[in-house]
Symmetry: C2
Subunit: 347 residues, 2 copies
């Protein structure tokens, strides 16, 4: 019998932010794949599509006309998941418990160019997206019932994105959703014990180790977390502990845009395809409280595993047991580190 | 402003078993869909496929030959996620924590017929699958390191199933995975307070209410849980509180097979397609302990939302915020209740 080895034997890793475990199966990537293949999505798109409801100047399904925007543009989702046109609070019937939930859902167009995606924008343009996120957080947090703001992007049809026009979403709502609520517990616990941010300490440890670092600049680090679930999952972490993105300086906003660009270019280069992912930013609650324990960060969950057409399915075991991954985070980091930071289309 | 109404306004519902919330957006099903379409999967398959590694008499990739089985057949997965060929326990390095995980992964063939799926088997054949699950649990729990046994099925290529031959899997392992661990907490809390099973009390409440019940016989109930996440998510719940499936009487095993058949036939009839899902059974730990608070049950998580080709994507908001659904559990139950219990291919 061999001695246990993280790069060779089945094991579990603890996500110290959520408190949950992920199962790692290093040897399993050797398995042949005869299952579903995704479309590679290498389509050619026009710069402006008259039938796209996000392009400048076009009419949306509710009759509103988009302005002739030159950089970014945001509006309230015409088919919002969260609404606020009702009064009342809940439903409490024995073991059936519900509560009303007020919210507002916005769509954020990253660029008027229908044919581009984040990794193809220049740093100034991505900086514009960051500025818009900050502006939205400032404005949405003014709404009385808003306590949480979730910024996210679904990129690629494989991620349920129904329009290829570069865009993300912001859902602002009353309750703290399940995922940030898990992290809040561990940020608080660590801060109460040690007076520090758990993410700041984790970041220090990662920087000393170096094995999982993909990119860094003066203000941000991009890494594959030790507890990554998705094959090429990454985090963008600000060096400075901040509860909300609204606290960034101008310089930090630009450094954040650079980190996003550097990461997403590598992603596209990985399988020479427009790399699909869902990304999201976790911040402290926007309820007016102080959150000295919080340290905001952005995560990317990309589904592709072996190629532009073979993804990782999070299904039976993962749904009923535990998230489970087939390559180690260290293998993923090594692959991402070796990639060029010049977009393959521009090479 | 209208008064808050579960069938009309955005809200959150509590899953009393996991302690987690799901967000419900009743009005959102009206949204037009221009995104990814799945293949409908209506293919014709032979009864025996010489290239299938699960068909009787065929040779698998590791050179082993399948027996000429007539009913069911199980074997250790040739590309197992969990293994047990190592010594040692863990890795504890500051905020990077891991532990070794021993386990065994088995494949369970439901029938020698390559062209059938569970809803097309007769009750005797499904009873044979139930008997094999019970036998496997009895045998696997004898392995010294095994504390948890996860029975599951991924049905359909959209659920990552790489071979259409009717089969499921069993992963037996040292640790209690994240999902059953959440339920264990709530089973225990309720039992310690009230001396009863939370699921038994919930079932009583559902039976009195009736709105979400799809099927029942003398020993089992099929229902859409009040907190369902997936559009047509269901649970099969035994009337009698049992910690493990190994406790079932012969009659109960047959009644369980009937419930599985009745549910999966309705599923296939919903969109007149071989309905994809992941299903799984949550049981008490198999560590030799007594678990009077536990009440085992089977859940089905099917991804289809509107048709055989349009699924629900659990992506950005769902990954970073909270599971979110677009029709209410009551709407889903009403649709399932109205379906015939005769398979559409046999009609
Ligand atoms: O074992 P299979 O059927 O080849 O693989 C499938 O089920 C596994 C367990 O849910 C998942 O880890 C895989 O991603 C999925 O493709
Ligand atoms: O809002 P969209 O882009 O139409 O929809 C997409 O993102 C939403 C938020 O993650 C999901 O609820 C939908 O299932 C997905 O298709």
């Amino acid at each position: 019998m061999e001695t246990f080895d993280l790069s060779n034997h089945s094991h579990r890793r603890l996500n110290v932010l959520t408190g949950e475990w992920v199962q790692v199966s290093p040897h399993r990537a050797k398995r042949p794949w005869q299952g579903q293949q995704e479309e590679s999505g290498a389509e050619h798109r026009p710069q402006h599509d008259p039938s796209c409801y996000l392009c400048a100047g076009n009419t949306r399904s509710n009759g509103e006309v988009n302005p002739d925007y030159k950089n970014t543009f945001s509006f309230v989702n015409d088919f919002a998941s969260l609404t606020s046109d009702f009064e009342g609070d809940g439903y409490d019937n024995g073991l059936m418990k519900a509560k009303s939930e007020k919210g507002i859902c916005k769509v954020i167009c990253f660029s008027p160019r229908h044919d581009l995606t984040i990794p193809e924008l220049d740093v100034n343009e991505i900086n514009g997206v960051v500025d818009l996120w900050v502006k939205e957080c400032n404005e949405l947090s003014e709404i009385e019932y808003v306590n949480h703001i979730q910024i996210f992007e679904n990129k690629g049809s494989i991620m349920g994105c129904s329009n290829p026009h570069p865009h993300g979403q912001i859902w602002a709502q009353e309750s703290i959703p399940v995922e940030p609520a898990k992290k809040a517990i561990n940020f608080e616990k660590y801060f109460n014990n040690l007076g520090k941010s758990i993410l700041e300490d984790y970041l220090k440890q990662e920087l000393e180790d170096g094995e999982r670092i993909i990119y860094k600049n003066d203000h941000f680090v991009v890494l594959v977390p030790f507890w990554a679930v998705w094959p090429y999952e990454t985090m963008i972490i600000p060096m400075r502990k901040m509860a909300h993105i609204t606290e960034m300086t101008k310089e930090e906003k630009r450094a954040f845009a650079e980190a996003i660009q550097q990461l997403t270019i590598r992603y596209d280069n990985l399988f020479k395809t427009s790399f699909p992912y869902s990304s999201g930013i976790h911040q402290a609650p926007y309820d007016g409280g102080e959150y000295p324990e919080w340290h905001w960060h952005m995560s990317f969950y990309p589904p592709l595993l072996r190629s532009a057409t073979v993804k990782k399915f999070m299904v039976g075991y993962e749904m009923f047991g535990n998230p489970q991954r087939d390559i180690t985070p260290e293998q993923a980091a090594k692959t991402l580190q070796a990639l060029s930071n010049v977009h393959y289309k521009a090479q």
